[in-house]
Symmetry: C2
Subunit: 421 residues, 2 copies
């Protein structure tokens, strides 16, 4: 027996793409970790009839649990709780205690807006204290409380902002309603292999080989996808199939050894961060204009090794900040291996670091030529001890793709350089 | 009479959040522009039964058109076309002409992978030439063709990668099947007001006032949302309600004049780019570490005014690259208004530009104190003629939120500075 769930994301701003939904995927991942099957995520606007038909769809699919996100705000277009109450056949009632808690939160928040009228704001937020009769309340992280309505299926109502939804999901997991709904779940493992440098069709070929050679292969649930210029192979399996999974990983290593860079779940960002421990790094970026520095400093604690970087969009900035000889730019062009090398050398010197990464390329849409088309990007990674790698690649896609993929290429070159003794 | 559509996004990697779905929202926006109502986007994994039940859900909702994205790749887990064929009651047949076209595309692509086996790849891709009998083929942009199967509802099958899906949607619009399916659409207008500096509940209050004061207000479909630290109000209406919409905008201006910065659809990025025409700018970033430079250079043509930037994560980098006096840092701390001012002055001097933006803050999770908690960020924007604005703000959220919101604050300060005569 297994437990199944569905996710209902609400919000016209999400349906129409003005806000990217992060909740559906995040909740999906949490459900998978728990061993709860997820069949569908549905997204609809702030219309009661559409929210109701989405709830009915999931219930008709026979799920044990429905999670909703969004529609808990103070504005009149937020009405998820009312629709859920009706769907579950519960009356909507004012929870006076909850109303007092929301008022206390609002008083604190309003300090940032000294000109706002507290009573008006409180009136706008009173509707957030209306809950389905008998529902379990999830205390607000922002101002919107969630609710758990036990039934067939059990419905968990969560707020839209991810930073509110995520902690409230943890609270929901501790409620009686959710615990009973997911009691029948199966235990799954999920593992990830990451590859860099192989086309997707090459991997498809290997997986067909695995299907022929490896017993029990069809019990593994394998998903492959291209992500940030890499190939990711995610496998879900029941613990009894662990040996079969190990055989698949062994086959991938055998067929594509140098392309497989991670089998333990680590990303290239994790690996580079590990390799940079005890070192110092600076960036020198032209076409990516800060994206590599931003990616390296994504993670807490990166200030231990990232000293800084130079964004050198103009030729003058390349010379002034990094000491690139203008004659070198004149001779080879700003997008060239000699200039990438000079940029990396300049970053090592300028920031007094032991590792540098330099990128110069043509992100487009303009600036390409027959010889150096849009997507041409030159990279140099260099260590103060003289170890250096320089590469020129031709990246597909548009401006944003080329800039984004360039950061991935840079991370992999850094990984290679730092793994070299 | 109006035309309604549903969107079926497929792909286990999307359902589980390893890849962010961009297609649902993008297609939703295209449908809205066309005046086609959209009720639901559903997302499911690569399981035939789930894809089939999603198709049935949308059909039961009475839509005229279903768009699917994803599941057209060469791997065995890609099976959207087969499921759609069965759903539409059509046989799946090999289109020999299409197979030849795919082969030609693959030959070109394979040049980048000289070691791959062409016949093996071609076999993997043969299934992409299988189409529902009588369907209209949408020529591949990558290697995956789309199809349009006319019926009740008409189904349009599109590939997963956005850069393939987007041009193929244009092609689909020209097919007989899609043209007939959307013949009954209503004309809508959609306009956006953008605000900065007001809490969402303040806006809710004004919209309640509008509801009382403005005749026909309930015919406008208004969505409000927080996005990148701003408030966005999107309104859809039929052309006959244009005057009502104008009254709402007038009321917003009356109530929140200084907070309303855009009523013509322009973003702060658009406005800053316009204001930078004929000028030059450089960035000086600590906690955002390149994100502002990357945001300014998002748009094509930005090399005309962005000269470069300094990412100065360490104190040494602040002094070495931007000439910030170490004594100033020692006296006030790296996160302080005097240091932000010195960074901006250093960027003006160093890059020889007429505009600079400097940011220094505590993105967390570590590094905060009682006096300067995590989220404290100091900004200076400065012009070479001496005009300067300096602000310290306390931003909510986690590391990534604080970094991202800081870029929005920086853009608005730049807008203000550049609008000052």
């Amino acid at each position: 027996m297994s437990t199944r769930a569905g996710i209902v994301v609400t919000g016209t701003e999400v349906l129409t793409g003005r806000v990217t939904d992060l909740n559906g995927p995040w909740l999906a991942d949490r459900l998978l970790e728990l061993g709860v099957e997820l069949a569908h995520i549905t997204i609809c606007g702030d219309r009661p009839a559409d929210i109701a038909s989405a709830l009915k769809f999931h219930a008709d699919e026979g799920v044990d649990l429905i999670l909703t996100s969004g529609g808990l705000g103070p504005t009149a277009d937020d009405m998820t709780v009312a629709v859920v109450a009706e769907f579950c056949g519960r009356e909507l009632v004012l929870d006076a205690d909850l109303e007092a808690r929301i008022a206390a939160i609002l008083k604190r928040m309003m300090r940032r807006f000294p000109d706002a009228d507290f009573d008006a704001v409180m009136a706008a937020n009173r509707k957030q204290a209306m809950i389905p009769l008998g529902a379990e309340v999830l205390n607000p992280v922002g101002t919107a409380p969630g609710v758990v309505v036990e039934g067939t299926p059990t419905v968990v109502v969560l707020p839209g902002p991810p930073r509110e939804l995520q902690p409230m999901w943890s609270t929901a997991l501790d409620t009686e309603g959710v615990r009973r709904a997911i009691a029948g779940r199966t235990e799954y493992r999920q593992e990830t292999v990451r590859m860099y440098g192989l086309p997707e069709s090459g991997l498809a070929e290997t997986l067909r080989l695995a299907e022929k050679k490896i017993d029990g292969f069809d019990r593994l649930e394998i998903t492959t996808c291209l992500r940030r210029g890499e190939l990711e192979i995610v496998t879900r399996y029941e613990p009894a199939d662990a040996e079969t999974y190990r055989e698949v990983v062994a086959l991938l290593n055998e067929q594509h050894g140098t392309d497989v860079y991670s089998t333990d779940g680590s990303t290239v960002d994790d690996q580079v961060a590990g390799l940079l421990a005890g070192r110092t790094i600076a960036t020198a970026e032209s076409c990516t204009a800060g994206l590599v520095a931003a990616r390296l400093t994504d993670r807490p604690g990166s200030s231990a090794y990232v000293m800084g970087g130079a964004v050198v969009y103009s030729n003058e900035a390349k010379s002034e900040l990094l000491g690139v000889d203008p004659a070198l730019i004149a001779a080879h062009g700003a997008v060239s291996e000699p200039v990438a090398e000079a940029m990396a050398a300049g970053a090592l010197r300028r920031f007094g670091v032991d590792t540098a990464v330099a990128i110069t390329g043509i992100a487009g849409p303009g600036g390409g030529s027959a010889e150096k088309p849009v997507g041409t990007v030159c990279f140099t990674v260099a260590r103060a001890d003289g170890a250096t790698l320089t590469r020129t690649v031709l990246l597909p896609g548009e401006r944003a793709d080329i800039r984004e993929r360039s950061t991935t290429v840079a991370m992999h070159l850094l990984r290679k350089l730092l793994q070299t003794p």
